[in-house]
Amino acid sequence: MDKIPILRMGQFLLVTIQIDLYDRLALNLETDLVSMVHKTGARGVLIDISAVSIVDSFMGRILGNIASMTRILDAETVVVGMQPAVAITLIELGLSLTGVHTALDVERGMALLETKLGPMDLMADEDDNSE
């Protein structure tokens, strides 16, 4: 069974989707991510979909679910790296990804999470090698 790896980076979780998902795989990701947020106490989730060539209504719903579920667990979700063709198609399909934060790439997504959570939280976690 395929699995999408979830990486932990300080207070964030990073997911890079590098294969086209079928529905079961997307559902598993939803469950895994929500349990990981709970287990690690992560405050932010970054989902990189730059390698994803299509987002249909099911995948869109999963992204929305992940955002809502993690919010209940006090974490923000940012979807980053959407291809322009995917964005155009999503809107024509009729999906607006309500409630999902988006950013152009991982770097900007990270910056967005940091401003949302305040820089303090992040520094507290990476303070051990400061001057």
Binding site: I54, G60, P84, A85, T89
Partner: protein, 128 residues
């Protein structure tokens, strides 16, 4: 191509993509076609369990396009005009599958007979 389980969806989408590339369809239209195909194939699996998709390259005058025909022997759709409305779903989806797919293609045709099955035909022109 027969679609009998969820995992068939990814190779099916790849086949559609290969065809689209073969006729030189641009990336945005490719993405629209594949997304529409993905919605329709999911409907087929969800409501009928399995079905078949015929993929054809068609030409009309100077235009080239791809036609996909989804055929299943599932329960059929009792009220097509209701099923084509945004937000209507008998499952627990967003109800965007059929109306969304129709918006993404150039031609859309649906025939359904309760108890007999459903046939959906979509056509996307290369430059449509």
């Amino acid at each position: 191509m027969a679609i009998t389980r969820e995992q068939d969806v990814v190779p099916f989408r790849n086949r559609v993509k290969e065809l689209a590339i073969k006729i030189g369809m641009g990336l945005v239209n490719q993405t629209k076609l594949i997304t529409a195909a993905s919605e329709l194939v999911r409907n087929m699996l969800r409501y009928a369990g399995h079905g078949e998709v015929r993929m054809e390259i068609i030409s009309k005058g100077r235009e080239t396009g791809i036609r996909l025909t989804f055929t299943d022997k599932g329960p059929g759709i009792a009220d097509i005009s209701l099923a084509m409305q945004d937000g209507y779903s008998t499952g627990k989806s967003l109800g965007l599958g059929l109306p969304g797919a129709r918006r993404l293609v150039n031609e859309f045709d649906i025939k359904s007979e309760p108890g007999e099955g459903t046939t959906v035909t979509v056509l996307k022109w290369k430059n449509g």
